[in-house]
């Protein structure tokens, strides 16, 4: 079991009063799971994803990552946990524009303290894996949206995470490019990495083995393929 969330809620304090973004969600993620989270805007999908990725802490309930209670971890320990075990793919890619594709992918490995030779070998492998070996020395501004998202996926996989979280990974892409990214994510999942995708795209969601539908901060239904 990678993640074991039991009755987790997240309440935000707003000037107009508290807003419950996620309400008593219980969810388990195991190695190799492929989960899609769907639902209308504002239903709490991204907040749930952020809690699963340990960048947001729950206001109630328990969230165990690899058996550790995340809420008890210090900020530094949570950073380390994310660095080693969790990969993130964002709708807007968030590649660093001053770095090349190679350097963007290398960055998390460098932060994890991987030796230079090992980093370079792994960068080559990852860029080949996402089909961008020929664009290694290109900057994000020289890449298309689909290519940038491939680099972002390679970066997310840099330290060999057990869990890959993707927030609307095809949201900025056209249908064809989105399908290519979806196929790439499938390959990542098939290689054993658990995958949780938040998406509005039914085509992307239907590729998952478990599809969670959220409404008003709660999991309304779960479909298992």
């Amino acid at each position: 079991m990678i993640v074991d969330a039991r009755g987790v809620s997240r309440v935000f304090s707003m000037p107009a009063g508290p807003v419950t973004a996620v309400r008593e969600v219980t969810l388990q993620i195991r190695d190799g799971d492929h989960i899609a989270v769907r639902g209308p805007s504002g239903c709490g999908k991204s907040t749930l994803l952020h809690m699963l990725g340990c960048v947001e802490t729950q206001t109630s309930g328990t969230l165990l990552f690899d058996g550790q209670d995340v809420s008890r971890l210090s900020d530094a320990r949570r950073s380390l946990l994310r660095l080693r075990h969790i990969g993130f793919v964002f709708q807007r890619f968030f590649l660093l524009p001053m770095l090349t594709a190679r350097e963007n992918v290398e960055l998390p490995m460098s932060e994890a303290g991987l030796p230079r030779a090992a980093r370079q070998q792994r960068v080559r492998e990852l860029l080949e894996y996402v089909g961008l070996a020929a664009r290694a020395d290109h900057r994000p501004s020289q890449l298309s949206g689909g290519e940038m998202q491939r680099v972002a996926i390679a970066r997310a996989l840099a330290n060999g995470p057990r869990l890959l979280l993707a927030d609307e990974p095809t949201g900025e892409l056209d249908e064809t490019t989105g399908a290519q990214i979806a196929a790439l994510l499938d390959r990542v999942n098939q290689s054993g990495t658990a995958l949780v995708i938040v998406t509005h795209d039914p085509a992307l969601a239907n590729r998952a083995s478990r599809v969670l539908t959220m409404r008003d901060g709660q999991i309304e239904s779960e479909q298992v393929a």
Binding site: T47, H50, D75, S79, R92, L96, L107, A156
Partner: protein
């Protein structure tokens, strides 16, 4: 990629911002460097001027030499001083107003410094008059003088030339006798101001120029000790309680408490102002830069970059801007100091050889320390922004934005 490499890439990514920051720090750093040079420049330069020639004690009638009051019976006083065991030599300086006739044009108004040495010490004869011979030799006879470069140029004099001088030693109302004197050298007078003309010679030459009417007083007695100026000055004060004997260090100390305080205060105020400007400039540039990259920073944090790491990146960026700007500021500061020195030396009564801006290694260290502090202080606010950055909320806002 470490924090410095990362910061370097961030700067290169936005060259306009980086150049603006570096140039701003270079300009502010140059001013800061100049203020540091100014804060001790006059003191160091004055100490250097006083130490030139090897005279380490000044005996005068007032607290500070150059007040216009004269030491009475100066030759007798110099004799007594020279007999002290810790004294190598004593030099009496008596100055008078003089007019030097020219073949054409108006006469040159100059001061004539007549000097006489008294010594019982074996090495006392090695000490020279308080001027530096540039060409020719020093004046030794009663009809010999040395002149400064300006007089030499304006009257077209060289060693071997003759001048007609009319000097007045006692009162301005005297009828000035004309005396022919031989120019044996061209000299630099350390305390000569920009607008002054100066000549020098022996006290006997001054007597000749003044028609024998020189009196017994002197403006100053310079003394060289055998190695203990403080003890010797004390011994002179014991011997001659009616005069003031001050070591060069004491004279500088007194100047520091009076005239030089003004410049120290100016330099302190301007140092504070320039450092504040540098802090504001870098803070604004870094804050703008950080605010433009909040999404990227939040993404890095989500990918596992620690809080300390992103804070280090900001600090490294600040250090790079201030470091590069700081290095550039040194030659710029020296250039500016030389220009400002020329302007300030145009003030009346400032000796030509005195400098307002004097380079000292200590100034370099203080400059580096202040710029380091600037880099750290300037980075505090942007570091706080990235340190407190809510990852999830920022990612959410970036997508919505």
């Amino acid at each position: 990629m470490n924090a410095i490499g990362f910061a370097w890439r961030s700067l290169v990514r936005q060259p306009a911002r980086a150049v603006l920051g570096v140039l701003g720090v270079a300009a502010v750093g140059a001013l800061l460097f100049d203020m540091l040079l100014l804060s001790r420049g006059l003191i160091v330069s004055m100490q250097d001027l006083l130490d030139r020639g090897g005279w380490d004690i000044r005996v005068s009638a007032a607290e500070l030499p150059g007040s216009g009051l004269r030491v009475p019976n100066a030759l007798d006083a110099a004799d007594s001083i020279s007999r002290l065991p810790s004294v190598q030599a004593a030099l009496v300086i008596r100055s008078a107003l003089a007019r030097i006739d020219r073949a054409s044009g108006r006469p040159i108004r100059a001061s004539f410094q007549g000097v006489a040495t008294r010594s019982t010490h074996p090495s006392g004869s090695r000490l020279r008059a308080p001027w530096t011979i540039l060409r020719g030799r020093d004046a030794a006879g009663p009809d010999e003088v040395v002149v400064d470069e300006r007089i030499a140029a304006e009257s077209q004099l060289e060693p071997g030339s003759e001048i007609t001088m009319r000097a007045t030693c006692v009162t301005d109302l005297e009828a000035l006798p004309a005396t022919r004197l031989k120019v044996v050298g061209v000299a630099e007078f350390p305390f000569q101001t920009t607008n002054e003309h100066t000549t020098g010679g022996t006290l006997d030459a001054l007597k000749t120029a003044c028609g024998g009417n020189v009196g017994h007083d002197a403006d100053l007695i310079l003394v060289t000790s055998t190695g203990d100026p403080d003890g010797t000055a004390g011994a002179i004060r014991g011997l001659l309680p009616e005069v003031t004997a001050a070591t060069n260090r004491e004279v500088v100390g007194r100047l520091q408490q009076t005239g030089f305080t003004y410049f120290r205060q100016i330099s302190s105020v301007l140092t504070t102002v320039t450092v504040s400007f540098a802090v504001l400039l870098i803070t604004v540039l870094l804050t703008v830069s950080v605010n433009q990259r909040l999404g990227e920073i939040a993404a890095l944090r989500a990918l596992g970059f620690s809080r300390i790491r992103v804070v280090k990146d900001v600090l490294a960026e600040s250090a790079l801007i201030v470091g590069i700007g700081g290095v550039l500021s040194l030659p710029l500061g020296l250039l500016l100091a030389s220009g400002l020195d020329r302007i300030l030396k145009g003030m009346p009564g400032i000796p030509v050889a005195l400098h307002f801006f004097v380079f000292e290694r200590q100034a370099l260290y203080v400059h580096a320390a202040l710029l380091t502090a600037t880099a750290i202080i300037a980075a505090l606010y942007p570091m706080r922004i990235v340190s407190k950055l809510p990852i999830a909320a920022t990612l959410r806002n970036e997508v919505i934005g």
